[in-house]
């Protein structure tokens, strides 16, 4: 009898405590300041985008977005807690508040933007799906892949786009779907599939993980649009703006020629665009609840978009990915940030 009374008490206590959760609508900026660190969701290890280096520090293009947000909000690019997520976990982790920014080579699609309660803040990398095959197969184009077994990572847009591509071209394929990119590579190396498919940027990263990278080649065909970018929860516009403009500050920095090395000299620049970006003329961080030096912190601690690209995925990295369409709009690419004004 007593046990049952206790149960009733427990049940009502539980109900009351849950009521608290329902009403608390988070202010991510305040929470982040109180915590002293940005909660950043990254991949489970994708070199060039987000992967720990030899000494255990997270490095990569996606990681730099989180570092930029931390620099803008807290003035310290290292104040980031990295949470490694696989493709299936990532949105739930963001929705439930486990992470505040998801910066994890995530493709911007309608469904994800409109039905998951999430917002994409921009594009860090314009990508597309490609195929990696063993050189022994003697294949030079994607239309020769009829009947192939294809290793894919579960929970990605790749699963859908590959199915679309093969159906549209009247070809058949066997999808072998693995949980993590590591297992996908394992399946490819064991010969379980003829083809490993993913975003071309990832293929470059996965190829250098192979036992013998020279044995595999990436086919020239790109079969889909995969704009990758950071994601935040819907309903906190201030935080949405902060993440969005942190990336824009990096892109604008490259456009105006501000690098992590010359940023201190640039403080004295006569160029009005540069003066506004670095907070020497007006405070453009105010509307986001930030200090005037928000962009200065980003550029001095993380560097501009071009520096980050080159260091992590570009010619200065083992991946050696060309800038291509990811070059600035002034250099024939499509990376374009609205002006600071």
């Amino acid at each position: 009898m007593i046990n049952k009374k206790h149960l009733v008490l427990l049940a009502s206590a539980g109900a009351i405590s849950l009521a608290g959760i329902a009403t608390a609508q988070a202010n991510t900026l305040e929470d982040t300041r109180a915590r002293g660190a940005v909660q950043c969701g990254v991949s489970d290890g994708l070199p060039g985008f987000s992967a720990p280096d030899d000494s255990g520090n997270w490095q990569g293009l996606d990681v730099d977005v989180c570092r930029a947000v931390a620099a803008a909000v807290l003035g310290d690019a290292d104040a980031v807690n990295y949470i490694s997520l696989n493709a299936v976990e990532r949105f739930t982790a963001l929705q439930s508040g486990e992470v505040d920014v998801l910066s994890r080579n995530t493709t911007w699609t309608t469904t994800r933007d409109t039905t998951l309660g999430l917002n994409f803040t921009g594009v860090t990398f314009y990508d597309g799906i490609g195929f990696m095959v063993n050189k022994d197969l003697g294949i030079s184009s994607a239309d020769e892949l009829d009947g192939a077994a294809i290793c894919i990572q579960s929970g990605t847009t790749t699963e859908l786009n590959v199915a679309d591509y093969f159906r549209a071209n009247g070809m058949e394929f066997d999808p072998i779907v693995f949980d993590t990119s590591e297992q996908t590579v394992g399946g490819f190396q064991a010969g379980r599939c003829d083809v490993l498919t993913s975003d071309t940027s990832q293929l470059a990263a996965l190829r250098i993980q192979l036992d013998d990278p020279a044995s595999a080649m990436i086919l020239p065909d790109i079969i889909s649009k995969e704009p990758l970018g950071p994601v935040v929860r819907q309903g906190d516009d201030e935080w949405f703006n902060i993440v969005k403009w942190s990336l824009f500050a990096m892109i604008n920095g490259e456009e105006y020629g501000i690098t992590s090395e010359n940023v201190d000299e640039m403080l004295n620049s006569d160029n009005p665009d540069i003066a506004r970006l670095l907070g020497q003329d007006g405070n453009y961080g105010e509307g986001m609840g930030l200090e005037a030096d928000w962009a200065y912190n980003i550029l001095s601690q993380v560097g501009n978009y071009g520096e980050s690209f080159d260091r992590n995925v570009g010619m200065g990295s083992p991946l050696e990915i060309e800038r291509g369409i990811n070059a600035l709009w002034t250099q024939g690419g499509i990376q374009y940030a609205p002006p600071i004004r």
Binding site: A22, F91, G147, S154, G155, E159, V177, Q183, D194, Q234
Partner: protein, 396 residues
């Protein structure tokens, strides 16, 4: 029940809160009401939170086009099918590996369990080594072992191991000829059913006859011949109305025939071998639980060893074996969700993996998946309880 010593005179009913039975009833009602209110609250709270965060809810997504491929499907499936269909594809794949796993684990487990008690030193030690090895290595590692270690030793599609011109084994799986049934095939399943019914009748008749006269006929062997021989005979008489579709190498791979994917083989192997090591121990303990006097009594009647086992020991041992065996079956079915690690398209991999991620309907998808495992487990448990009640010792 005895009369209560402090029974009150009639007409003076105690107030209801002094009556134990009524008090218990009231508390139970209150508890149930509280649980219902609590559940309503939780569901409402979740719905409010989801809608305030702009997350779509409901089961409408099940009718949308899935748009992704699945490598193994027991029912018709293409990337144009719905998400609802991916649920059934995944469910059937889970049931396939679970069902075949239970059968294989039971057979291996019984053989090894009995072998462990063998008077032959070598057989007993081999069985013990088997049990101790497979019982003490984590299942996930065993699955990876069967998958990657075995995959790497198999040849590529173009240098397949061929058994005749019909069976091929390579890194993509095992390729078998597929029977295509022609008209007139319908007779064969009919004779099959007739043979089964006749066999059951024969066994019952033989048992009654033995009880009445003491004379025995080899009823099991006759049934066996009946069940396999009769359909075979009909098949030959009707001119074998089956053609076989042979797998053949085209482009990258074999087409046609039946393909058994290596993911299935690895998972099935690993689950069966792992669970069999536990079942073997259960069988051994069940047999050892039967007092040695029973065996000696049976031997005193000069029953041969196999009849001692079949008629005296095993029927009694089953009473001890079945309850823990049920747990092992449930474990095996639940462990099949490790499939996702090697890319076997089971329910967790297809539905709670890809479908969940493409639709973002985490709560609905996970709730459905959990409900499925709960239902399967309860059904298995019910069946085993029924079976246990049947084999339980009938005391006379």
């Amino acid at each position: 029940m005895s009369v209560r010593p402090n029974a009150r005179p009639a007409g003076h009913k105690p107030p209801f809160w002094r009556d134990r039975a009524k008090r218990a009833l009231i508390f139970q009602c209150l508890l149930i009401a509280a649980v219902i209110v609590f559940l309503f609250y939780i569901v409402g709270n979740v719905q409010d939170n989801l809608s305030s965060r702009g997350i779509t809810t409901g089961f409408g997504f099940l009718n949308n086009t899935a748009g992704f491929g699945i490598v193994q499907s027991l029912i018709d499936y293409s990337s144009q099918s719905t998400y609802g269909r991916t649920f059934f594809v995944g469910l059937l794949n889970t049931l396939l590996v679970g069902g075949l796993g239970v059968i294989a684990a039971t057979i291996i487990g019984f053989i090894v369990g009995i072998a462990r008690l063998s008077p032959n030193w070598l057989i007993a030690k081999l069985a013990a080594a088997y049990i101790e090895t497979f019982r003490n290595i984590p299942l996930l590692l065993q699955i990876f072992f069967w998958y990657f270690a075995v995959l790497r030793t198999l040849p590529s599609a173009r240098d397949s191991l061929a058994f005749g011109e019909a069976f091929f084994l390579n890194v993509r799986g095992l390729y078998l000829p597929e029977p295509l049934f022609e008209s007139g095939f319908g007779l064969i399943p009919v004779t099959f059913v007739i043979a089964i019914v006749a066999s059951i009748a024969l066994v019952i008749w033989a048992k009654r006859r033995q009880e009445a006269t003491g004379k025995r006929i080899p009823a099991y062997w006759i049934s066996f011949a009946l069940i396999f021989g009769l359909p075979l005979l009909v098949m030959l008489v009707t001119g074998v109305p089956i053609t076989w579709e042979m797998p053949e190498l085209r482009g990258f791979n074999f087409r046609g025939g039946i393909t058994v994917i290596p993911e299935f083989l690895a998972l099935w192997f690993a689950l069966s071998i792992y669970t069999a090591s536990f079942i073997a121990e259960i069988v051994r303990s069940g047999i050892q639980a039967i007092s040695h006097g029973q065996t000696e009594a049976a031997q005193a009647l000069s029953l041969p060893r196999n009849l001692v086992l079949r008629l005296v020991v095993i029927p009694q041992a089953l009473r001890v074996i079945i309850p823990p065996l049920t747990s092992q079956y449930l474990n095996l079915i639940k462990n099949s969700s490790l499939a996702t690690a090697i890319g076997y398209p089971d329910l967790v991999s297809v539905f709670a993996g890809t479908t969940l991620n493409q639709t973002g309907q985490a709560i609905e998808v996970i709730a459905m998946t959990m409900a499925v495992y709960l239902t399967i487990s309860l059904l298995v448990s019910m069946f085993m309880n029924w079976f246990n009640a049947r084999v339980a010792l009938v005391e006379r």
